[in-house]
Every structure is written in C-alpha cells, then in structure tokens.
Symmetry: C2
Subunit: 320 residues, 2 copies
C-alpha cells in the first residue's frame, strides 16, 4: 500500500472547510497559519495508544473521534478557539478502509467544532495516534492552571464517572456507525459508552470562562489528579464536598474520581459565581459548585456534615 494513497484517502474522507487562519494546509513541508495581531497561539499534543487509550478492536470511527476529542479538550481547558490539528499516525498494516473510517470519525467532531486538518505524518509501526491541536486566545487571556487563589469556588461541568462505567462495555463495542452513540440520551444503556468513546470537548464553555475563571483544567486523569494540578500550580489546596459531586447515572461517589470524563474543572472568585450560574443556563449545561480552594496545600474531601471523608479515589496512572 502506497503511503500517498493512504494520505489522500484520509484527506478526501476528512473534507472539512478550512478556517481563515490556515494559510497553507497539508501537502508541503509545513503548514502555515496566520493569527490576528492580538491573538496568542495555543498548542498541545496527545497520544492515543492501542489497548491503553482505546480498545485494540475498536472501530476506527470511534478511535478517530475520541483522539480528536481528547486533544481538543486541552484547547477547551485553555479557553481557546480551535483552528486546526496535525495527525501523526503510526500503523502496522494500513488499509484504505480503516484510514477512511478514522477520517470519518474525526470529521464528525471537526465539522461542528470548525477545525481543519493542517498536516500530519504516516509511519509504519505499532498503532499510535498522536494529535497536535492548534487554537488561539486573545493575548493574555488563556486560562492557566496557576491562577487560582484561596477562597475561590471550584466548579465542574457535566456529570462525572460515566466514561469509566462505559469502558467495560466499550471493550466489546464494535459498531462503526457513530449515530446510535451520538443519539444516546443520559440514562440509556449506550450513554456510558458514548461518554467513553465520544467525549465532548467543552470548547464553548472554555471560551466563555475567559475573564471569569481564575484557573481551569480538563478532567482526563480524574478529578483529584487534575484538580491537584490546579492546586500545585497555584500553590494552594482544596476542600471538596462529596455530596455536591454531580454523578452520572449509575455512578457511585468514588466513580466521580475516575478518568476520561473530559469535563472542565475550574475556579472562580466568589464574586463571579453568578456569572457561572448564568452561563450554565445559557449553555444548558450543568456547572456544579463542588468545593472551595484553601490556603493549605492538599485536597480534603468532606461529607455532607462537613466531616473529612476517607474515600480512596484512584485516577488514571500512566505507568504502573
């Protein structure tokens, strides 16, 4: 199989309108982008490895969607507007159909998010899908992890823990058509599988949080690990109220600390919580107050009565 035939198959199947910032797309030594004078470029890279980040037998449509979604989620956490992405794909035995399905999966997410493919690389080796995403923020307005102050209110978007619930069933899921999953409503049997394979990067929320949130992160490794990153970068701690955690259908409280939800966790000063409530209403999205930042480092979980609680949460560890 010829490398260029595979690349052409990907690009043809992808077929998404190019944003104005993309001066030169795939096919040259580099892609070229031009930003407005008052914008900063946001860039992030994520790798998905077979059997670690997705089941080896998963349909390529789902793998493609998931790969782009988790990468775009980093732009969301920065408050960025997405522009384009690069795909570095390593694959052992490439075939046109698999490549096309991968492209279709990415396209399904890229269309509504208005993201183009700017370039990539195709290599022969164990399956590895590494996506570099590019976006922009107005200068100085990126949502960093290190901006939280003691006394800020901690919020989380959406509902937690369903992706992890869905993982066991996702391993057996072989349906390449995205429609049944995208239609699955909360509470339906397919919904947790959707939440695992087809997470929604919270791009609009992230952009709307600029000027409101003091810090933000997306939940990939689990709430404690990721909130811990905000606390570490900000030099503070946090007090989480377990009774407030927004649990997905069928999720027990410990499940709220599992990974793969790709919701946003963010901090806002007490004076701005009304803005968060208004945003929740406007975006029709749960934005739940789950605790408060504190001066002392470390994260404490308290129960409904305010007593420290001994949950044993485990997030995703990259190397065991």
């Amino acid at each position: 199989m010829d490398e260029f035939a595979l690349i052409d198959a990907f690009l043809e199947a992808f077929d998404v309108a190019e944003p104005r910032e993309l001066v030169l797309g795939p096919g040259d030594d580099c892609a070229l982008l031009a930003l407005a004078e008052d914008e900063e470029l946001c860039i992030s890279v994520d790798s998905l490895i077979s059997d670690t980040h997705f089941p080896a037998q998963a349909p390529a449509t789902l793998v493609g969607y998931r790969a782009l979604a988790v990468s775009l989620s980093d732009l969301a956490a920065m408050g960025a507007k997405p522009i384009a992405f690069l795909v570095a794909l390593s694959v052992e035995r490439p075939d046109l159909r698999w490549i096309r399905e991968l492209a279709f999966g990415m396209r399904e997410l890229a269309m509504p998010m208005n993201v183009a493919v700017a370039g990539g690389n195709l290599a022969n080796g164990p399956l590895n899908l590494t996506i570099t995403v590019i976006g922009s923020v107005p200068r100085g307005q990126g949502l960093r992890r290190g901006g939280a102050r003691p006394g800020d209110q901690i919020f989380v978007s959406g509902r937690l823990g369903e992706a992890q619930l869905g993982l066991a069933r996702a391993r057996e899921y072989r349906e390449p058509d995205l429609e049944p999953l995208l239609r699955a409503a909360p509470g339906s049997p397919l919904h947790p599988i959707r939440r695992y394979f087809l997470p929604t990067p919270r791009l609009e929320l992230g952009q709307r949080l600029r000027g409101i949130a003091t810090a933000a992160i997306d939940l990939s490794d689990g709430l404690l690990a990721d909130l811990g990153q905000i606390c570490g970068a900000s030099g503070i701690g946090a007090r989480l109220e377990l009774a407030r955690l927004p649990l997905g259908a069928g999720v027990v409280v410990e499940g709220a600390f599992s990974g793969d939800d790709y919701e946003l966790c963010f901090t806002v000063p007490g004076s701005r919580t009304a803005d968060v409530d208004a945003l929740s209403e406007e975006l029709r999205m749960d934005l739940t107050l789950i605790g408060t930042t504190v001066e002392d480092e470390g994260i404490t979980c308290v129960d409904a009565a305010g007593k420290p609680s001994a949950v044993e949460p485990h997030g995703f560890r990259h190397f065991r």
Copy 2:
C-alpha cells in the same frame, strides 16, 4: 515509575533558554506562543519509530538528536526560523536515565539552533517519538513546493548518499557520547554514521533562500522522490545531470538517490544562480547545480554526454 518524575527529568536535562515567542511553556493544558504581526506560523510533525527510523538498540542521545533534526529539517525546507517543539513520547519501560539521555541528545541540537521545548505527552506503549516543530516566516515568504517554473535551475546542498552508507554501521553503534560523531570529518570512518544519526537541518540556508528559491524541499525519502514532490506540486518535470550530483565519500551514483540525507533541494530562476553561488561561499556549504526543471512531467536522468541514463534509484518507501 511516576509520569511526572519522568517529565521533570526530561525538562531538567533539556534546560534551554526560552525564545521570546514562547509565552507559556510546558506544564499547562497548552503552550502559548505570540508571533509578530508580520509573521506566519510554520508547523510540522514527524514520527520516529524504533527499528524503522532508528536502530532499536541505539543510544537515546542519538535518537533524540536525530528525531529533533529530521523535524527541524521541515522548517528549514520552508525557510522558517525555528521557535519551539513538542515531544510526544510513547515508551514501554521508561527509565530516568534513558529519558535524560534523550533530552541531552535533543539539547545538543536545540542549543545552537535556539529552539525550546514547548510541551509534550508521555504515554505507555511501543517506542514512538513524535515531534511537532513550530517556527515562523515573514508573511507570504514561506518556501513552498509548488513554486517552481520550467527552466528553473535545480540545486542541492551538501553531499548525498553518506547517511545510507552509514546506516549499516549505525545499527551496531552503541556510543552514547555525541562528541566523537560531531567531530568526525568528511572521509573519516565515523562520518557516515554521523550523517545518519546526526543530520544537520539546513535552517540558515533555508532562511537565506527566501526570496531566491522558487521551491524547496528537504531530502528525507531520496532525491527522486522528494524532487518529484516539487515537480508534482509545481506541475512540471526535471532533467537531472548525473555527473553533477555531489556524492559523499565512498558513495556511488545510485547512492545519491537514497534517503536520510536531510539536505535541501531547491529551484531558482536562472537570473538568481549568482545569489546561490554567493550564498554557498558565505555559508561555506556546497550548493550544487544538478539539473533544470522542464515543462514535461517526470524526471529524466542524463549522463555526462546528455544521454538518458537507466539508473534504478530507490528511495525510502514507508510501506512495502
């Protein structure tokens, strides 16, 4: 082994001054970059897979240097000034020493080229090193592949074929210290190994060719394949004079078509060849006229007498 300890080990060993364009480096959801108003961003991604793009037992210092070099070579081919890069590393059994050596190898090249690390990703899986490089060019001045016109002169930098000569010995090479290779002079036994492991991205040459070259590409897959990209993108053909090809020490003429040299191949209008000669003298670098572009598509090789020659050149094929 903890993911964050490995990332810290990499960043500590890397330790290169950050360029002014890098507003926010590693450690957040995204890196942030700011360009000047009159600049375009150049971006490219390359993956190196163990046993395909480097010998599996190669010292990590050499793998790191080579990975960054081949990625930066794409910026050189665009005429870009390098700024920063992102490292997505997937590794089966990570250890601190290997990660540090990888960083040292990258640092050795990044220091003189003034390139910082902007971010990355560390995952558990088969060895895969995917590097995204970021650079800038003045708006509209990027060296594209599609700008060549019939009658342009075709040039190549440096000497060809040595990297491929070095590959056989590179497979057995286990010395992690970069110094002996970097000191190896042309003609010395170590020089071909240097040319394989430690190619020099022709960044200064690329930047100086802006406004002179009509098209440019870096030689990764081999002269015919890569010049073929210029021809295809420009809708033209080429006539190569075999007797003019600048061969490395010990390289036969067919060897000039092998891959991995990472020299630049570029086209200039006849009126600008004096600029190329002046540049060759100033940069103390061979820039050799090797042929002419023609209207008819396809690449013809001719011998010293001008007769079509039946070489059977093979470049690198990504999937066999």
